[in-house]
């Protein structure tokens, strides 16, 4: 870790004006700073700003950026009205990390690509222009969708996958004022610039995440990982499905572990609407969800695994008892 200047922000505007790197939970930033993958010269501590409340706003909720993952997961309104979010949060990290990690920080969590983490190896995300070691290397945890020749890193967050299906909106305070960014427009695909991961500009501070009115229906989050707990997703599926009699009235789907950002596929959702649930239908949705996939040898299994995880998640959400 390089030396840095530490100061504590006294207000949001103070923080934004600082132009420094913000630290809140620290679970990701300090990890990366120890490896010198991120080496900010100035670190501003925002952890004591007044952004740690969950409040009703309109028909939805306003989640302060500093609300800890554990508090968000345990919030009675979230458990009742947005259970997919609770489930996603509880499927991530550990009790300790959830006590530290914040809502805003989780959205900005950086990839777990092992080559990003190993400063001895080239990485376009860490050191633009040096190349991608994961291509042709070990790629088990890497992305198969939305990738580029420059980067195949996957986004590691569980929470953000749930935020995707809930149509969350990210509130940002920046030098130019307040902006509200739909989460679908928040992330950027790697293209030639994998080091740029979101639409945030220097000085921008996430102040809240806004959830619109609750989505009726079954909320599911299924995460498949290499051990039973405390591991990043190989594949995860967030689904909110509303049945309309015996057909699917509405469905929202997002995937984790597959892409450089939480991955939502409107075409797959559209294919489900108005249809009777069946294995064949879920397979069709998977086809659409996986369209354009570019797997490596080491992560090609994610395609069939996604298909199966989606099928079991949808079957449960639709109340389909047995699916051959």
């Amino acid at each position: 870790m390089r030396e840095f200047q530490y100061s504590r922000a006294s207000s949001v505007s103070d923080a934004v004006a600082s132009g420094a790197t913000f630290i809140a939970g620290g679970t990701n930033l300090l990890d990366l700073m120890k490896h010198e993958i991120m080496s900010p010269g100035r670190v501003v501590d925002i952890s004591r700003l007044d952004l740690d409340r969950i409040e009703a706003e309109g028909e939805g909720l306003r989640i302060g950026a500093l609300v800890r993952n554990s508090d968000l997961a345990a919030d009675l309104r979230v458990r009742r009205d947005y259970p997919v979010l609770s489930r996603a949060l509880l499927a991530g990290a550990s009790g300790q990390l959830r006590n530290m990690a914040t809502t805003g920080g989780n959205l900005l969590q950086r990839t777990r690509c092992p080559y990003f983490y190993d400063t001895a190896t080239p990485c376009n995300k860490r050191d633009p222009g040096t190349g991608c070691s994961a291509i042709g290397g070990v790629s088990r945890m890497n992305a198969v969708l939305g990738v580029s020749d420059a980067c195949i890193a996957a986004h590691p967050s569980d929470m953000a996958v749930a935020m995707m299906v809930l149509d969350a909106v990210v509130e940002v305070e920046g030098p130019a004022g307040t902006r509200r960014i739909p989460i679908g427009a928040f992330y950027r695909l790697p293209g030639d610039t994998p080091h740029i991961e979101t639409v945030l500009e220097p000085g921008d501070l996430i102040t809240a995440v806004l959830l619109p009115a609750p989505k009726p229906g079954e909320h599911r989050y299924r995460k498949v990982r290499d051990r039973a707990s405390y591991a990043f997703a190989l594949v995860s599926v967030a689904a909110v499905v509303r049945m309309d009699g015996d057909v699917i009235g509405d469905a929202a789907l997002a995937f984790g572990g597959l892409a450089p950002m939480p991955w939502r596929v409107p075409a797959a959702e559209a294919a489900l609407r108005g249809q009777q649930p069946s294995a064949a239908l879920f397979d069709r949705a998977a086809d659409l969800a996986l369209e354009g996939a570019k797997p490596q040898e080491g992560n090609a299994f994610k395609l069939p695994l996604t298909r199966r995880t989606l099928a079991v998640t949808l079957a449960e959400a639709c109340g389909l008892e047995d699916m051959q």
Partner: protein, 165 residues
């Protein structure tokens, strides 16, 4: 830089590099080596301490960010002759072998029991809207942030169940 930490009921004034984590502050500067460094990256739980009553990974916490916070380490949970019920249960159930992850397991479990009491759900909870109950499965999931390579897991679960009832 200067930081004031309230650790196990005592005030400590720390004068250290801003880069110093709470874990290194405890181990290198304050002589509280009961908190262990197993990975230094939030991947093992050996450094678990309580900050303002919540379990956290001390390795991913800057000491300077804890200015004014109340910190409980394993040394504050209990000491020989005055062990906490959980510490005693760990001995009785042989909830450790090498002992290196043990302070973290005990700090974690201490706070985890409060989390259950507060009604926090977990990944293992069946119904998010029903009262949370204690079970071996719940404890296993909630304690998964504390790795034990000697793998005293079943004994740790038994120790916690004995205390949690």
């Amino acid at each position: 830089m200067q930081t004031e930490l309230f650790i196990n009921g005592r005030v400590h004034r720390l004068e250290a590099d801003a880069r110093t984590t709470l874990l290194d502050a405890l181990r290198h500067h304050l002589g509280l080596t009961g908190t262990k460094k197993g990975c230094d990256h939030g991947q093992c739980g050996a450094c678990t301490v309580l900050v303002d009553g919540r379990r956290v990974n001390a390795c991913l916490t800057l000491a300077c960010m804890c200015d004014g916070s109340e910190i409980t380490t394993i040394e504050g949970i209990g000491e020989p002759g005055a062990l906490s019920p959980l510490q005693s249960a760990f001995i009785a159930h042989d909830g450790f072998q090498c002992g290196y992850c043990t302070p973290g397991q005990i700090c974690s479990a201490t706070a985890m029991m409060d989390e259950i009491a507060a009604g926090w759900p977990s990944h293992a909870t069946g119904d998010l809207n029903a009262p949370v109950t204690t079970s071996a499965e719940e404890i296993r999931e909630r304690m998964s942030g504390n790795l034990c390579r000697c793998a005293c897991y079943p004994n740790i679960v038994d120790a916690i169940l004995e205390v949690q009832g």
